[in-house]
């Protein structure tokens, strides 16, 4: 697949000297669903605004289909944006909102009617043409915003936390629907979110960001199973992160014991982060275990119980379908391939 957007050494420094983006490089492939994922303030929205043309990078180049587009205003870029709080035009009704871009481009009326009709069908808003946008529910407003952007047939659709204001059930429905639309229209979607679950369900590629840097780029499976550092591991789902050392290849030492693992290539006795997913910890009788702890709390989460276990040096989070009562001593067992060893991040 060809790259549609390239970002080269993009740096953004605000007037007060704050560095929002620190020389990031990123290639976005055509027809992909790419998600920028990270905590607030990580630079994900800033990156999106640079692609949209609403913000000029302090230094670095933006390429669109190989052409440098720095300085090109938003209205001359072949991308459209779905804004965070929709930003619908309050003085126009549903039809006029969707038709806005086409009217500005002075397309023939027939063409406008046809394309807006297509969009209304696509986002299930047929019959709402004359409705004032202020009288729509959040979910419906969201659909208008998506239709208003897509009607222009952009090559790339930028979505800035578009589902943030919707309730959980609606959000899940819209996730599926957005993914369907993206695949049906064969467009590139660039999606910004701080919700890791959303990123994992929808994306082809996830770009994890923190502190103005890209931490990891990869498929949802890669990111989840092979996080490159403790930040990614922690951000993508809950994790137990413990300080440890690597006495030799395939052996990790933490919490006062040595464990067999599958990672190698570290310096002898290098200090590392040991990452263990809560669902990878098995509860066994304490007398058979190297790791023991006392159950501190149990919360029912639907599919599983979430337990916190006080293991002296570390408070463990365990997800398990079985649960032990608070106050009992339990043993914990971890399979070698579930022990992920990561280099200490520099920051």
């Amino acid at each position: 697949m060809e790259n549609i957007i390239n970002l080269k050494d993009i740096e953004v420094v605000f007037e007060d000297g704050e560095r929002i983006l620190k020389k990031i490089n990123l290639d976005i492939k055509d027809k992909e669903f790419v998600t920028f994922l990270g905590p607030s303030g990580c630079g994900k929205t800033t990156t999106l605004r640079i692609i949209g043309g609403f913000l000029e990078p302090t230094s670095g180049d933006v390429f669109f289909e190989g052409k440098r587009i720095n300085g090109l205003p938003p209205y001359k870029r072949n991308v459209n944006t779905v804004f965070q709080r929709y930003a619908l035009f309050p003085h126009l009704n549903v039809y006029e909102n969707i038709a806005f871009g086409l009217k500005v481009k002075k397309l023939p009326d027939k063409e406008i009617v046809r394309r807006v009709g297509e969009m209304l069908e696509l986002v299930n808003l047929k019959g709402f043409e004359k409705r004032s946008v202020s009288r729509l529910s959040g979910g419906q407003q969201q659909r208008v915003a998506i239709a208003r952007a897509l009607v222009n047939h952009p090559k790339v659709l930028l979505l800035d936390e578009p589902l943030g204001a919707l309730d959980l059930k609606l959000r899940k429905e819209m996730q599926v629907e957005l993914r369907k639309i993206q695949q049906a229209l064969e467009l590139t979607f660039i999606y910004v979110t701080h919700d890791q679950e959303e990123a994992l369900t929808m994306s082809d590629t996830v770009v994890v960001m923190n502190n103005g840097n890209i931490q990891q780029i990869g498929s949802p499976t890669d990111i989840y199973n092979e996080p490159v550092n403790a930040f990614v591991a922690d951000f993508i789902g809950e994790s137990n992160i413990i300080n440890g050392i690597m006495p030799e290849d395939c052996v990790a030492e933490f919490s006062g014991h040595r464990f067999e693992c599958v990672d190698k290539g570290f310096a002898k006795n290098e200090r590392v982060d040991v990452v263990i997913r809560p669902e990878d910890i098995k509860i066994i009788p304490p007398e058979k275990a190297k790791l023991t702890g006392i159950v501190e709390s149990v919360v029912f989460k639907g599919v599983h119980y979430e337990m916190t276990v006080d293991g002296m040096e570390h408070k463990w989070i365990i997800h398990s379908t079985l649960h032990e009562p608070v106050g009992t001593m339990i043993g914990m067992d971890i399979a070698p391939f579930d022990i992920h060893i990561m280099k200490k991040s520099e920051e």
Binding site: F54, Y75, F83, F89, H91, F100, V104
Partner: protein, 268 residues
């Protein structure tokens, strides 16, 4: 509603100082000196048609100038950072803290035949120009005094236009002009109509500005009314009739204006 009674003080105020006087004006307008009913006063207003037209014309010009000057300023103001907006608004309001008469009087000394401006022009060999006692001076006085009344309503509507709506317009293909006319103007319409009202109504009924800056030749409706009550022409019945006609004119103009305003933001 149990809280209705809290509006009682205003209801009393309204009755005593608004409804009753209005009624009295109407009574005066339709009676003659001996107390009998007559429409002669209203008919007499027709003699002053030229003054009515001049008043309307000058206040329309002043309102238009205020709108053209205030619109860009208000928009820029509304896009500034919050703390700078407060400072700038204060500067806009600053002249209004000075007494109205004093401000207008200051223009007399500036525009006078031996005034500051003519003096400066004289230094470079121009003039003296006739600046004061012209209709231009009256319009200038109106614009100067009423400009803040245009800026404030415009600003308060524009500040509510979300930045992302303007970005959305740009995203959907609008250059600066298209964004202005397709999004910003429609969304600031309530501010435009109330700004026009706030400037036009006091401008059309002013008498101080025309008296001080317009000389005798630029009589406005306000001066005419004043003359009927306080001047040599003393005729309160005619004065009341003129006031009534002026009120009707303003009412008609405002009603027409409200046709352009969104339904939920009617002004009167």
């Amino acid at each position: 509603m149990k809280t209705k009674w809290v509006s009682a003080p205003y209801l009393v105020w309204m009755t005593v100082f608004i409804a009753v006087p209005l009624l009295m004006i109407a009574v005066f307008a339709f009676t003659s000196n001996d107390g009998g009913f007559t429409i002669k006063n209203i008919q007499d207003v027709g003699q002053y048609a030229n003054i009515f037209f001049r008043s309307i014309w000058l206040s329309v010009i002043a309102t238009a100038i205020c709108l053209v000057m205030a619109y860009p300023v208000s928009f820029i103001l509304s896009r500034m950072e919050k703390h700078r907006q407060a400072t700038m608004l204060m500067i806009v309001m600053l002249p209004m803290w000075m007494n109205f008469l004093l401000r207008t009087y200051a223009w007399m000394t500036l525009l006078g035949n031996n005034g500051v401006i003519n003096h400066l022009l004289g230094l470079i060999g121009i003039g003296p120009l006739k600046l004061i006692n012209t209709s231009g001076a009256v319009v200038l006085g109106m614009v100067y005094n009423y400009l803040p009344f245009m800026i404030l309503p415009l600003y308060s509507v524009m500040v509510k236009i979300d930045k992302s709506v303007i970005e959305a317009a740009s995203d959907l293909g609008c250059g600066s002009f298209a964004t202005l006319f397709r999004v910003i103007v429609p969304l600031s319409l309530p501010g435009i109509t109330s700004g026009i009202t706030m400037v036009f109504v006091p401008a059309i009924s002013t008498f101080i500005i025309s008296r001080m800056l317009g000389g005798g030749s630029n009589l406005l409706i306000g001066d005419l009314i004043e003359m009927q009550f306080l001047g040599n022409a003393y005729n309160p019945h005619l004065g009341a009739a003129i006031s009534l006609v002026l009120m009707v004119i303003i009412l008609v103009i405002m009603t027409v204006m409200n046709q352009f305003s969104p339904d939920d933001q009617v002004l009167i």
